[in-house]
Amino acid sequence: MFLRLIENGGYITLVNYDINKTGKKVTISTDKIKRIFLEFKRDYQLWIMVLPAIIVIFIFNYIPMYGIQLAFREYDFTKGIVGGKWVGLKYFKQFINSYQFERLIRNTLAISISSILVGFPAPIILALLFNQVKNQRYKKVLQTTVYLPHFISTTVMVGLLVVLLSPNTGIIGKMLRLFGLDDVNLLGNTSTFVPVYVLSDVWQHAGWGSIIYLAALSSVDPQLYDAAKVDGASKWRMIWHIDIPSLVPTMVILFILSMGGILSTGFEKVYLMQNGLNITVSEVIATYVYKIGLLSNQYSYSAAIGFFNTVINFSFLVITNWVARKIGNISLF
């Protein structure tokens, strides 16, 4: 994948490729070199604009990347971070064969897929809804309020859940009792853990997530609405034919990015919500890595689990990106 992309995107590689492969098409190559030169001359300003970001990312993200080797080596302090014995896939095998592997993957996927299914559309719907509010003052108050819960720390949010969902004293617990669900303890139930986790996340972050969509909606050309009104379109039709299409590019990009998190769940919230009654569904990769490191540092093992995660996440991103490019001609790269 990597190589192919370099070939497609990086022009220079393509030239070498041609020379090596065919040998004789020198004329084409010189044409290409000329074109590169011309293009560079044309685009040099673009290069200058992107260069500072490239430098920063290169220095602070690419230079330390030698550390990835740790996943394939035995950590040995005396020989430096990556000087330990090469053990290949030992730690990956250890993880895949570990007692809880299947359960960890299953639990992690259950949480992240539900989070995407519910958490992805929620901010879009909120933004579309708020965009319909015409009273400016009301709209402002609304927007300012819904983004505030984002700032509540995870610890407090989980503490709040404990208070609200308490079957004895919590508001929600009491409401459930009204509906005759007496013995339901939402926090101590294998079937309610994922819904509680996901919905409380949406509750807390959907407003914050809607900001970007509101920004996108604000750049819609007002003439479109005027034209639609002249045609007598209903509000529903305007949302469907003007608002949503204007959000599609942002939606697709954010969707691709969220698919790149398919094996990631927040650590802190899951960990804080864990208890003996839900541990069978609430142990995820992130909490497992934390626990194995509690008594002793498992640098190599946790690096390997991290790398395993990353590879799967990245594959999902690349696949989603490819599909999005084929279907909608929108993509990250």
Partner: protein, 299 residues
């Protein structure tokens, strides 16, 4: 707007009613935890934990705030975090916006490769220890620059910005601009930026909030007491006031008092650390209404 209202159909009126109703409902549901944090921060922590504080504060006391503000480090923390946020956001914006513009130009052949180069780092990284060693060798640790330079480009923000530039800057604009001999620099500064107030303010908000809430950079790279960011100070105060699970050594007549209100600290801390950021939001919001300009320029 008024002139249009007379042409409202029944379905549109109904539609508006539903919108307002839903918004009111969402407002209540989403505003509640915020309201709860506010009342919990001034209530008796025992009553909060027992679930008695739901609509009105009970056993009102300002113990939480008193604990937070009696620690003089908090002012150092505020000062530092404000400096880091302003410098960091400025630098990040200077890197992100032009890069996003470059990558949004369809004729820029290298853009897909560069995007890949960026996106790759969202997933693969060398881990904390190699990064620490690098930053230490560069002499950035224990300086304010560690908050500004190393993590200046947030690839997520870069991608969102690029996508926005791609889709909301009309293609005809650049074509007509080049006919007038306009360079990329010029086009970017005098046309793209003024047209992109909405995304610029959103991305700035993203950066501001991330830098404001960042405690990890401080935890790992800062050793000097005078450079500690607000979030670290608050974390120390929070931990010092927790209900001690170990219990060992605590107790006695006054211990009961301290424990009773200690938990209020965790709510007070949220208010203390969030209020300053909320101040930024109206500035951001202002620009959401300015999408009008595109139409104006085009017309």
């Amino acid at each position: 707007m008024l002139s249009l209202s007379k042409g409202k159909s029944l379905s549109d009126v109904l539609f508006d009613a539903i919108v307002y109703l839903l918004c009111a409902l969402i407002f209540l549901v989403i505003a509640y935890p915020v309201y709860f944090v506010v009342i919990a921060s001034i209530s008796d922590a025992n009553l909060v934990a027992q679930g008695h504080v739901t609509i009105f504060p009970k056993g009102v006391s300002l113990f939480g705030y008193q604990k937070v503000f009696e620690d003089e480090r908090i002012w150092i923390g505020y000062r530092n975090t404000i400096i880091y946020t302003i410098l960091g956001t400025t630098f990040s914006m200077i890197l992100t916006l032009p890069a996003a513009y470059s990558l949004s130009r369809p004729e820029f052949r290298a853009r897909r490769f560069i995007m890949f180069f960026f996106a790759f780092t969202m997933f693969f990284n060398g881990g904390l220890i190699p990064t620490y060693i690098l930053i230490k060798n560069l002499g950035l640790d224990n300086t304010i620059w560690v908050f500004v330079i190393p993590f200046a480009v947030n690839v997520y923000n870069l991608i969102v910005t690029r996508s926005f530039f791609e889709n909301s800057i009309p293609k005809e604009l650049y074509e007509s601009a080049t006919l007038d001999g306009c360079s990329h620099f010029r086009f970017f500064t005098s046309i793209v930026l003024p047209l992109s107030n909405a995304i610029i303010s959103v991305i700035a908000l993203y950066y501001i909030v991330a830098k404001w809430n960042d405690f990890f950079t401080g935890l790992i790279y800062i050793r000097d007491k005078n450079l500690v960011p607000l979030q670290l100070v608050l974390r120390d105060i929070l931990i010092a006031n927790q209900v001690f699970k170990e219990g060992v050594g605590l107790g006695g007549e006054a211990g009961g008092y301290a424990q009773r209100y200690a938990d209020a600290v965790k709510y007070a801390i949220i208010i203390v650390s969030t209020l300053p950021v909320i101040v930024f939001y109206p500035f951001v919001q202002k620009y959401f209404e300015k999408g009008v300009m595109i139409g104006a320029i085009k017309g």
